[in-house]
Symmetry: C2
Amino acid sequence: MRVISVDPGYDRMGVAVMELKGESEELVYSTCVETDKRQSLNERLEFLGNKFKQLLTLYKPNALGIETIFFNKNQKTAIGVAEARGILIYLAQTHGCLVYEFGPQEVKIAVTGYGKSDKSAVFDMIKRLIPSTPQKVLDDEYDAIAIGITCLAHYGRTK
Amino acid sequence: MRVISVDPGYDRMGVAVMELKGESEELVYSTCVETDKRQSLNERLEFLGNKFKQLLTLYKPNALGIETIFFNKNQKTAIGVAEARGILIYLAQTHGCLVYEFGPQEVKIAVTGYGKSDKSAVFDMIKRLIPSTPQKVLDDEYDAIAIGITCLAHYGRTK
């Protein structure tokens, strides 16, 4: 199974493409797509959607792994993230992907075995599990890789 | 200018296609798309997205009119509506539509001239403005027509 995993946002979107090679996870591609802050929210969402569509066409994943949304103090941000999420899920579905959603705690457990790990512990473990992980990338890209690891751990061996 | 207007939701989505004929608004098409409650949210969003895409292809509107989202007590509902909204806006943009957003008060002012009108006053005025409005439809369909009237009032004569 090949998974595309996303840390959704309209400001920055981390994306990873991963698959299982035998027993270990392999990182096929990862990036952090940034949008232009001078553009309107709708223009930024269009840009992200188009980028994501290109990746779906290029990498032909079987599944999307995406983080569930949780509400923070800023409702306006949450709405923008939910709108981005809707677009990504819709595009993945129309490209034949199954959609799997994970909460932040599930991701931490899948990567480190402990649901309250801090970010640095998660990132360290990612680098150990996948030595080809690029160094010095934005958090969003690591987050996407963590979601990919989670998705492969849950569903990679059953497909 | 031909406008497609939407009252977004994942449960029911009101849609109207309208245009100006001389000085008066003409209703080309309207419907209320309902989704299957037994399906998952993502399945329902995919269904709505595909329906909307068909309407964009069929009616070729120049603009999308859509209501802004506002938060109510139920955050889970708000997230689902925001996800639906993201999909509709993205699809309209990729079909060449300009996107115009209106708050509930703007819609009431455009239709009745008064920002605190109740639903029945808005619906009565819709039927007067557009005698071809179907009788006995779901509120979501009337809401979509009201958003279409607003969009044409604001932008119909400038395009």
